[in-house]
Symmetry: C2
Subunit: 354 residues, 2 copies
């Protein structure tokens, strides 16, 4: 039996996608060759790349609006430095909502002055700062839409009249947003999109070409745009699986459909966390992430019993990050509602037993 | 029937490796989870990473000699800039043997003065320069061991008493060398090791920490060494397949065994190129690559006939790179001798027909 996979990432992917991906490793397109042993310049793979790029723009509603989609190497961690390398002349504004924002700030500081417009570090990042001001003289504003570790998510993005950059690694394709408010969106694939090893970059071309420094080719967005995301050999398999997952999402009904399912899953779990006297949530209620629910036992002496119970229920990946402790249930797009129900059942069983 | 896959990269991988990789996508380690949906911090994947890293050092004979093996993002193209970022203070020496050397030089120039010690550009890179001098006051010497596009390969590396850097992307693990003569070896996985999406870096720790510039974390070898090649989410699937391929190579008898097979394959094909009056080789004989054989028809009017014949014989990926034209037969480790025989048979059939 397949496990209920609450892993924070790399994480659950749709069963049908895994099946197709597995087949492509031995025989891709019925051409008697593996997907991973053909040239990336061959038509079958160029088609994959183009399909993945256009699906990404289509699902986000960003076709014909001056955006390009790229599948780059290096994970979101490389985007921390690439955004600054390509966009930061003098000063940039960053919102600090936890570990990933913090890392982005650290890398950007090598390239210019960073204004931290607000931080929720005072409460170990269990909320999203609000009401802060973004200086008007910055090259761009950067934020992290969802914080996997702390289980918080930005519900209302600030209105900023300059260049808006957002790390959406852990909630892209999960909810409806006006994505055209952003000029640069990046996301490591390994949450709602595919396996680790590729990063989606959605970029408005007009924001480029405004810094003076020389940019090494692999770090230059313009180079990748000009080469249709094929400047060097791309990460063939992670991009193929991302394409399959985006196709799966489109067939289901796109972001509007999956957002409803994600809301159902989040409501089911958060209701139980709030109702069940044995548990308490970690993040501020209004900032709760619909992707990663962080919670803990009120009475830690129940830890061993609870841990045994959810493992026996074939639940996987529920341990919280060491920065927060407790539990973290990651409910990415591919996680079915019945997996959340399975977890809720265990929480209720614990209540009966305790 | 499986095709005879002469693709230049991504390229043929062992059948048994593809089979295991395909299975791991649906059920890894019989744990009812896919390899690509488990945490990279989980024991099963940490074991994969550690196994891949130690197999790489073991096969190269570099265990306990101060080297670390890393599996990084970004392809060899990222190494072009990382080597310079990490090692280049003032001046470095580069040997230019073609497209890949040329690209490495271009990126390095952003970080310091580059001395091109020799180039074979005068003859469209169909030979390896010899007898050049490497200045003693450079931070390092860089060369490309095998040139996929032009079909040349360095047989005797220069004796240089400083830091030796080598791009071995297309012939690592294919022949015996004293690898301890090099301080930094890098290789994109997608030739003799695995699928595109990860790059092996073998580095002697003592060469680091000698430049003054600040290095972004993702570009800093020291950061990756300190985090056991897990600073950020690694490219899980490409690394797993690389591990399987390195295990396959070890079981066969390692580099000494595969070198013999590679010599047999190269001898078979080059003998036919030299014997058959319809064909001529491109690279200088003494510099011929045992990985990529470049050749052409003497009479171009036979092109259509020959192309139809090899395609009918289930041969794939034989077209030469646009910089050279003609044909290129890539004979990486996983290509069986009978595939080379199949190509030679077609060449001989053409001779009978013509």
């Amino acid at each position: 039996m397949k496990k209920h996979n609450f892993s924070a990432g790399p994480c659950i992917l749709p069963e049908s996608v895994l099946q197709k991906a597995s087949e492509a490793i031995v025989n891709f397109n019925n051409d008697n060759l593996s997907l991973i042993e053909i040239s990336h310049r061959s038509k079958p793979f160029v088609d994959v790349m183009e399909n993945a790029r256009s699906l990404a723009l289509e699902l986000l509603g960003l076709e014909n609006k001056g955006y390009k989609a790229l599948f780059l190497h290096g994970g979101a961690s490389t985007q921390f430095l690439m955004t600054a390398y390509n966009l930061l002349n003098k000063k940039a504004a960053y919102l600090n909502t936890g570990t990933w924002s913090d890392k982005a700030i650290k890398e950007a500081k090598l390239f210019g002055e960073i204004v931290e417009v607000a931080s929720s570090k005072d409460k170990n990042f269990n909320y999203i700062p609000k009401g802060y001001k973004i200086p008007t003289d910055v090259d761009y504003f950067h934020c992290t839409s969802n914080n996997t570790i702390f289980g918080t998510q930005i519900k209302n993005f600030p209105e900023f009249n300059g260049v808006n950059v957002c790390d959406m690694s852990s909630d892209i394709f999960s909810r409806q947003l006006d994505f055209s408010k952003f000029d640069l969106i990046y996301a490591g694939a390994q949450k709602n999109m595919g396996p680790a090893g590729t990063t989606l970059v959605i970029i408005k071309e007009e924001i480029l070409g405004k810094v003076n420094r020389a940019i090494p080719s692999m770090l230059d967005y313009k180079v990748h745009i000009d080469k249709d995301s094929m400047f060097n050999t791309p990460a063939v398999f992670p991009i193929y699986v991302s394409m399959l997952t985006l196709e799966w999402l489109k067939e289901l009904g796109g972001i509007p459909f999956i957002e409803k399912v994600n809301n159902q899953k989040a409501t089911l779990l958060y209701n139980e966390i709030d109702r069940n006297p044995l548990f308490k949530g970690y993040a501020a209620k209004e900032d709760r992430s619909h992707m990663n629910a962080t919670f803990n036992l009120v009475d830690h002496s129940l830890t061993e019993t609870f841990d045994t119970m959810w493992k026996e229920a074939q639940i996987n990946g529920l341990n919280g990050h060491r920065s927060v402790g407790g539990y973290r249930a990651s409910m990415y797009n591919a996680l079915p509602l019945f997996s959340v129900q399975a977890l809720v059942d265990v929480m209720q069983e614990l209540e009966r037993k305790a």
